[in-house]
C-alpha cells in the first residue's frame, strides 16, 4: 500500500507540474483529492490494515494529500499570475495616442491679475470696494480737486453721457465716495473698469482697468506709501526689484509721484524693454491733496493719507509679454486658453 501511495503521489505531482491551465488543475484536484479521488480511495482501503499500521498509514496518506494540495495551490497561483501577465501584455496601449480632452475653462487674464492684486492688498488689510462706472462730474473731477477750468481736465479725454454725467476716467472717483461714508482709519482698494476717449491701438484702449488704493489715518507719510508699494512690487515683480519715486502731478495728490520699478528684464542696467533707462513706470501715487480730504469732510490738519492708481491692463500685458492690448478684448479662444 505504501508503494501504491508513493506511485499515486508521484503521478499527482507530475500531473500538477505539467498542468497548463486552471481547468486541468481542477481536473487533477478531483482526480486525486475529490470524494472519489485516488488518495481519498486509499484512505477508504485502510480498513484492511492492522490497528497498529492504520494510524501510521493514515498519517502518510494525509501527508501526501497535503503535499498534493499545496502543490495544486501553488501551481494555480502561478498559472493565474501567468494568465494575468499575458492578459496585461495583450492590453498594452500606444501611450502617444492623443488624450481625451478635458476642457477646464479659465478666467480672463485681466481677472487673474485683478485677483492677484486684490489678494496682495487684502492681506495688507485693505478692504475691497466697488464703485459705479458711470460717474458724475462731482465725484470724478470736482471733489478730486479738478475744478471746471483746471488744466488737469485737459489731460484726460472724457466720454460724456450728459451734462455732468460721464464714464469714469479713473477709479479715484471711488476715493471720494469712500471718504464720504467711512471715517478714518480708511484702508481700501477699488478695482474696476475705466474709460478714456483714446483711439484704439496696440497700447491704447478706450476701456481699461485700474485699481485705486487709499489710506487715511493720523500720521500717514510717504514712507508708508513706499512701504505698501514696495510690498506690492515685490509680490508682482519679484523680491529683487527696487522701487523709486519720481515727482509728478495729479490734481488729487500732493506731493504726487510716478512710481518706477527697476527693469525686470535687465535688472536696471538698461535694455530694450526699459528703453535704456533701467526703470519701468508702473503707477501714479501721492499724498491725498488737502482739498480732497476737506471736500470729503476730513480735516487735513488732523489726518493725512495716500492714494495710488495701478493700471491692471499694463501689469497684465507686461506680465505675459502681450504686445498688443487689443488681444485682451478680442477674446480669441486660443489666446484665452493660454492663461
Amino acid at each position: 500500500m505504501k508503494e501504491q501511495l508513493e506511485a499515486i503521489r508521484l503521478a499527482a505531482e507530475k500531473g500538477v507540474s505539467a498542468a497548463l491551465d486552471e481547468k486541468q488543475i481542477e481536473e487533477l484536484r478531483v482526480k486525486y483529492l475529490g470524494k472519489k479521488g485516488e488518495l481519498t480511495a486509499l484512505l477508504k482501503q485502510m480498513g484492511s490494515l492492522s490497528p497498529e499500521e492504520r494510524p501510521k498509514m493514515g498519517q502518510l496518506v494525509n501527508d501526501a494529500k497535503a503535499k498534493v494540495e499545496a502543490l495544486i495551490t501553488e501551481r494555480k497561483a502561478k498559472l493565474k499570475e501567468k494568465a494575468t501577465e499575458l492578459k496585461l501584455k495583450s492590453e498594452t496601449i500606444d501611450i502617444t495616442l492623443p488624450e481625451k480632452a478635458t476642457d477646464v475653462g479659465g478666467l480672463h487674464p485681466l481677472s487673474i491679475v485683478t485677483n492677484d492684486l486684490i489678494d496682495i492688498f487684502q492681506s495688507m488689510g485693505f478692504d475691497v470696494l466697488d464703485g459705479p462706472e458711470v460717474e458724475t462730474d462731482h465725484y470724478n473731477f470736482e471733489c478730486l480737486n479738478v475744478p471746471e477750468d483746471h488744466p488737469a481736465r485737459d489731460m484726460q479725454d472724457t466720454f460724456y453721457l450728459a451734462d455732468k454725467i460721464l464714464l469714469r476716467t479713473q477709479t479715484s472717483a471711488a476715493q471720494v465716495r469712500t471718504m464720504e461714508t467711512r471715517k478714518p482709519p480708511i484702508r481700501i482698494i477699488c478695482p474696476g473698469r475705466v474709460f478714456r476717449a483714446d483711439e484704439v491701438d496696440a497700447t491704447h484702449s478706450p476701456v481699461f482697468h485700474q485699481l485705486e488704493g487709499l489710506v487715511v489715518d493720523k500720521g500717514v507719510t510717504m514712507c508708508d506709501l513706499m512701504g505698501v508699494l514696495e510690498q506690492f512690487a515685490h509680490e508682482i515683480y519679484g523680491d529683487s526689484v527696487n522701487v523709486r519715486f519720481r515727482p509728478s502731478f495729479f490734481p488729487f495728490t500732493e506731493p504726487s509721484v510716478e512710481v518706477d520699478v527697476s527693469c525686470t528684464e535687465c535688472g536696471g542696467k538698461g535694455c530694450r524693454v526699459c528703453k535704456g533707462e533701467g526703470w519701468i513706470e508702473i503707477l501714479g501715487a501721492g499724498m491725498v491733496h488737502p482739498n480732497v480730504l476737506r471736500s470729503c469732510g476730513i480735516d487735513p490738519d488732523v489726518y493725512t493719507g495716500f492714494a495710488f492708481g495701478i493700471g491692471i491692463d499694463r501689469i497684465t500685458t507686461t506680465r505675459y509679454k502681450i504686445s498688443d492690448i487689443r488681444l485682451l478684448f478680442e477674446n480669441d479662444k486660443r489666446f484665452l486658453e493660454q492663461f
Binding site: S111, T221, M226
Partner: protein, 795 residues
C-alpha cells in the same frame, strides 16, 4: 517744450553732460520726452574750400575739384554736382568718414579718376531748411560767409547742439519757458541762474497821442498792456535768435515777429504785434465779438464769431482773436513802419473755449490755456522792448497803456517744519528746507519751527504745506524715502458680497469648462436692429456717448448678447471648432435724456457653440449656477426676438424672472456672420446676489436601501415632459429620491400624435426599508397623478 541746450547756457551754467542732465531732471519732476542731438552720426566731415574745378575727361557730368581741407596739400574729390564754383565753402566727407544714415565714405576711383572723399548736400548731412538755409537746395550745400577750411562741419553748422524736449506738468506753466526751465535746472544743478539784462531807451513822444486803449471785459482780460514802436527797421533776426526759435519748433520770419515769438518762448508770455497803420480810428478795444462779426486770421482763414468770444478790435472791426491769433489785416509785413505791441493776460477758459470752438491751435493759445502769470505781462513787454532796442529794430515811444484791476500779492503760507515733514516721513534738515525753497523763488523765513513762505503769483500752484513738501522733496531727492511696512491693526481686508458671489460664479463656470471673456461696455446702437428688438423694447433706450470714438462704440449696452455673438463670430471665422464663453459685466439703464446716474445691472452672459453643444448644455450650466445660490428654478417658454422661437426659455429663481436662454435665431446669427447653431443666455445677477442662502448643513447619508421602479408612459406628443416629472414628484412626496428620464420615443408601435416616455424613479425612506405594500401604494399614487397630467402607463 523743446529747447536748445546751447541756448539754455545763456541763462544757466550747465556743468554736466546732456545725458546727466536728462537723468537728473526727471527726478525733479521734468520728464524728458525726447533728446535730439544734431549731427549725430557725422564723422570726419569738414569745411572745405574749392580751389580749382576741372572737367572729367571720361564723363559729361562729373567734375574734378581740388579742395583745401585745412591740410598742407589740397585733396582731390570728384563730384557730380553742378552748383559749385571756385571759392565756395562746402562740406567734404573725407576718406573714412561717416554720414548720419551710416554711409561710410572711403577713397576710390570714379571713372578712372582718384577721388578722396565726397562733397555733401544738406540732405546727406541730415539737414532741413530749418536747420540751415539752403539745406534743401538741389546740389551741394554752399556754406554762408567766410569759413575756416578743416573745421568740423558740426561746429560750422551749429550741429553741436542738443535739443531736449521737457515734459511740463500742467501745474507748472511757469516752467514752460526758456527762463522757467533754466531756473529749475539751476536749482537741480545748484549753479547760477542769470536772467537776461533788460534795458532800452525811448525816443520821447507819448503813447496817448498815438492810440487809445480800452478793455470792456476786464473779467476775460484781467490785464492789457500796449506800447508803440515807430520807424520799424524790419530785417532778418540774428542767428542766435533764429536758432532758438527753430529749436523750439517754430519758424523765423523777421526781427519784429521773431522778437514776439522769442519772448513768448523765453518768458512764457505770448505777445502780439499789430501794424499800427492798419488800426482804424487809432483805437484798441478789448471786447466780446458782436454776433455775426467776422475775422480773417493771419493764416488767411475766415471765421464767424459769436458773442462769447473775446477779440481785440480797432475802432471798426476785430483785429485779433484774443490770445489765439492775429488778423490778416493788421499783420506785420516787410514794409510796416509802425507797431503797436501787446502783452496781456486772457482768462484761460475763455481762450480754450474760443480756440476749441473755432478749431484753432497755436503756441499762444496753448500757453494761455495752461495759465499765464499776470505779473509776467510787464516783464515780457520790457524784454521785448529791450530786444527791439538791442537789435535796433525800431524807435520806442514813451508811455505804456496798462489796464488791469488789482494785481495779486504774494501768497503767504505759515506752517511749521514739522507739519511739512509729517507728510514725508523723512527728516530733512531745516536749513536745507529753507535753502531749497529760497532757490526755487519761494522766499522763506524760519523762526524756530515756524516757516513763513512768500509765494509769487507765478507759482500759484503752491498753496500749502503739501505743496511745500513736494517742492522740498523733488529737490532734496525722493531717494531719501525709505519704505515702512503697514502699521495698525493687521486684519485681512473685507470684500463686498457682490464681488464674492461673482467670484463664486466665475469659479463654477470655469469648472464647467467655460472661458471668461472681456468686451467693451459700449456698442454700436445698430445691435438693437441686428437682434431684432421690437420698437417698444426697453433695451432700445441706450444711453449714448456724446463724444464717441465712432458709431461702433457710441452706446452703453443694455444687453451683453450682441458682444457675445461678435466674439463667437470671430472665433468661428477663425475655424475654432467649439467654445464655451462667459462674461460678467454691467448693463446700463437710465431715463432719457439722462439726468442722473443710470442703473448699472450686473449681468452674466453665456455663449456656447460646437458639435456636442445644445440647448440642454446651457440649461445644465444654468441649473448648476442656480443651485449654487440655493435657488429653486422654473422654466417657461420665452419670446426673445433673437432666439429660436421653439428653443428658448425663461428661467426663474424662486419665482423671480432672471433671464432667458436658448438657441440663437438663425437669421440673427447670420447677421453676425455666424452660420452654425450657437446658444446664448443672459442672466441678471442682482436676483441671484439677493438670495440669502441658508447656512449649509450636512445631510446624513441614507441608512436604508432605495427601491427603483420604472414607469413607461404614453402621452400626447405636446405634453411637456416637465409636467409628467412634476406629477411623479407630487405622487411620490417625501419618499422621492430622484427621477431620471431614460427614454423618449415616437415612431413605430406608438400611436400617431403620441410619444413614449420612460422614467426611473428611486424611492427611499429615512425611517426604514420600504415594504412591498408601501412601495405599491406610492406607485399607485404616482400613476394616478400621471394620469391627471396626461400620462398613461404603457401596458
Amino acid at each position: 517744450m523743446k529747447v536748445s541746450l546751447n541756448h539754455l547756457k545763456r541763462y544757466v551754467d550747465i556743468n554736466v553732460s546732456a545725458e546727466v542732465l536728462c537723468e537728473k531732471m526727471p527726478l525733479a519732476g521734468f520728464e524728458i520726452e525726447s533728446v535730439e542731438k544734431k549731427g549725430d552720426g557725422i564723422k570726419n566731415v569738414v569745411v572745405a574750400k574749392i580751389l580749382e574745378i576741372s572737367p572729367h575727361e571720361n564723363s559729361d557730368h562729373l567734375q574734378i575739384c581740388q579742395m583745401d581741407v585745412g591740410k598742407n596739400a589740397p585733396v582731390q574729390i570728384v563730384t557730380g554736382a553742378q552748383n559749385i564754383s571756385v571759392g565756395d565753402f562746402v562740406p567734404a566727407a573725407l576718406d573714412d568718414s561717416f554720414l548720419p544714415d551710416g554711409t561710410h565714405i572711403v577713397s576710390g576711383k570714379l571713372r578712372g579718376v582718384e577721388s578722396n572723399g565726397m562733397l555733401c548736400s544738406g540732405g546727406e548731412l541730415g539737414l532741413t531748411e530749418a536747420d540751415y538755409e539752403g539745406a534743401e537746395v538741389h546740389g551741394i550745400l554752399i556754406l554762408k560767409g567766410e569759413q575756416i577750411p578743416g573745421t568740423d562741419i558740426k561746429e560750422a553748422l551749429g550741429l553741436d547742439d542738443t535739443v531736449i524736449d521737457f515734459s511740463i506738468t500742467s501745474n507748472r506753466p511757469d516752467a514752460g519757458s526758456f527762463l522757467g526751465i533754466a531756473k529749475e535746472i539751476s536749482v537741480v544743478l545748484d549753479t547760477e541762474f542769470k536772467a537776461p539784462e533788460i534795458s532800452y531807451k525811448t525816443v520821447g513822444g507819448d503813447i496817448d497821442d498815438y492810440i487809445s486803449v480800452s478793455v470792456e471785459n476786464i473779467d476775460l482780460c484781467p490785464r492789457y498792456m500796449g506800447r508803440m514802436v515807430k520807424n520799424l527797421r524790419i530785417a532778418e533776426s540774428p542767428d542766435w535768435m533764429k536758432k532758438a526759435i527753430i529749436s523750439a519748433g517754430m519758424r523765423p520770419i523777421n526781427n519784429i515777429v521773431d522778437i514776439t515769438n522769442f519772448v513768448m518762448l523765453e518768458t512764457g508770455q505770448p505777445m502780439h504785434a499789430f501794424n499800427y497803420n492798419d488800426l482804424k480810428d487809432k483805437k484798441i478795444i478789448v471786447r466780446n465779438a458782436c454776433e455775426g462779426e467776422k475775422i480773417v486770421t493771419l493764416d488767411g482763414k475766415e471765421f464767424n464769431l459769436t458773442g462769447d468770444m473775446l477779440v481785440i478790435a480797432d475802432g471798426k472791426n476785430p483785429s485779433c482773436l484774443a490770445g489765439i491769433m492775429g488778423g490778416k489785416e493788421s499783420e506785420i509785413e516787410d514794409d510796416t513802419t509802425d507797431l503797436f505791441l501787446e502783452s496781456a493776460k486772457f482768462r484761460r477758459d475763455s481762450v480754450r473755449h474760443t480756440a476749441h470752438t473755432l478749431g484753432i491751435r497755436t503756441e499762444s493759445c496753448a500757453r494761455f490755456e495752461k495759465g499765464t502769470d499776470i505779473n509776467n505781462v510787464e516783464y515780457a513787454m520790457n524784454r521785448a522792448l529791450s530786444l527791439i532796442y538791442e537789435l535796433n529794430a525800431g524807435d520806442i515811444i514813451d508811455g505804456a497803456a496798462d489796464i488791469h484791476g488789482d494785481l495779486p500779492e504774494n501768497r503767504i503760507i505759515k506752517t511749521t517744519t514739522d507739519k511739512v515733514l509729517e507728510l514725508i516721513g523723512v527728516d530733512v534738515p531745516k536749513d536745507t528746507m529753507v535753502s531749497i525753497l529760497n532757490k526755487l523763488g519761494l522766499e522763506t523765513k524760519l523762526s524756530g519751527n515756524e516757516m513763513t513762505v512768500s509765494v509769487p503769483s507765478m507759482r500759484d500752484d503752491v498753496e500749502g504745506r503739501a505743496d511745500l513738501a513736494e517742492e522740498i522733496m523733488r529737490i532734496y531727492g525722493y531717494s531719501h524715502i525709505k519704505g515702512r511696512p503697514m502699521r495698525g491693526e493687521v486684519t485681512r481686508g473685507k470684500i463686498l458680497p457682490e464681488r464674492e458671489k461673482s467670484n463664486k460664479i466665475k469659479s463654477l463656470l470655469t469648472s464647467c469648462g467655460m472661458r471668461e471673456i472681456a468686451t467693451y461696455s459700449f456698442i454700436n446702437p445698430a445691435a438693437a436692429d441686428m437682434l431684432g428688438l421690437s420698437e417698444s423694447d426697453e433695451r432700445r433706450n441706450m444711453i449714448k456717448i456724446i463724444n464717441p470714438l465712432g458709431d461702433e462704440y457710441s452706446a452703453l449696452r443694455t444687453q451683453l448678447v450682441s458682444s457675445m455673438l461678435s466674439v463667437m463670430a470671430t472665433n468661428i471665422s477663425r475655424k475654432i471648432e467649439g467654445a464655451k464663453f462667459f462674461e460678467i459685466s454691467k448693463r446700463f439703464f437710465g431715463e432719457l435724456p439722462l439726468k442722473s446716474q443710470p442703473e448699472e445691472i450686473p449681468t452674466l452672459c453665456l455663449g456656447i457653440y460646437g458639435k456636442d453643444e445644445d440647448f440642454f448644455t446651457l440649461k445644465g450650466i444654468i441649473e448648476s449656477l442656480f443651485k449654487l445660490f440655493g435657488a429653486h428654478t422654473r422654466y417657461e417658454r420665452a419670446a426673445e426676438p433673437y432666439l429660436h422661437p421653439g428653443r428658448q426659455a425663461e428661467v426663474y429663481a424662486n419665482n423671480t424672472l432672471c433671464g432667458t436662454f436658448g438657441e440663437v435665431h438663425p437669421s440673427v446669427a447670420e447677421k453676425f456672420g455666424i452660420n452654425e447653431r450657437v446658444y446664448v443666455a443672459e442672466i441678471k445677477l442682482d436676483v441671484l446676489y439677493g438670495i440669502n442662502r441658508r447656512k449649509l448643513v450636512y445631510k446624513p447619508l441614507p441608512k436604508f436601501p432605495a427601491v427603483e421602479r420604472d414607469f413607461a408612459l404614453l402621452a400626447d406628443i405636446d405634453t411637456p415632459v416637465g409636467e409628467l416629472q412634476k406629477a411623479i414628484s407630487s405622487g411620490a412626496g417625501r419618499m422621492l429620491e430622484k427621477i431620471k428620464l431614460f427614454d423618449i420615443y415616437t415612431g413605430s408601435q406608438i400611436p400617431e400624435g403620441k410619444k413614449s416616455v420612460a422614467f426611473s424613479v428611486w424611492l427611499r425612506s429615512a425611517e426604514g426599508t420600504l415594504t412591498e405594500e408601501q412601495t405599491e401604494s406610492i406607485c399607485s399614487k404616482i400613476v394616478e397623478k400621471l394620469q391627471k397630467a396626461g400620462g398613461e402607463l404603457r401596458k
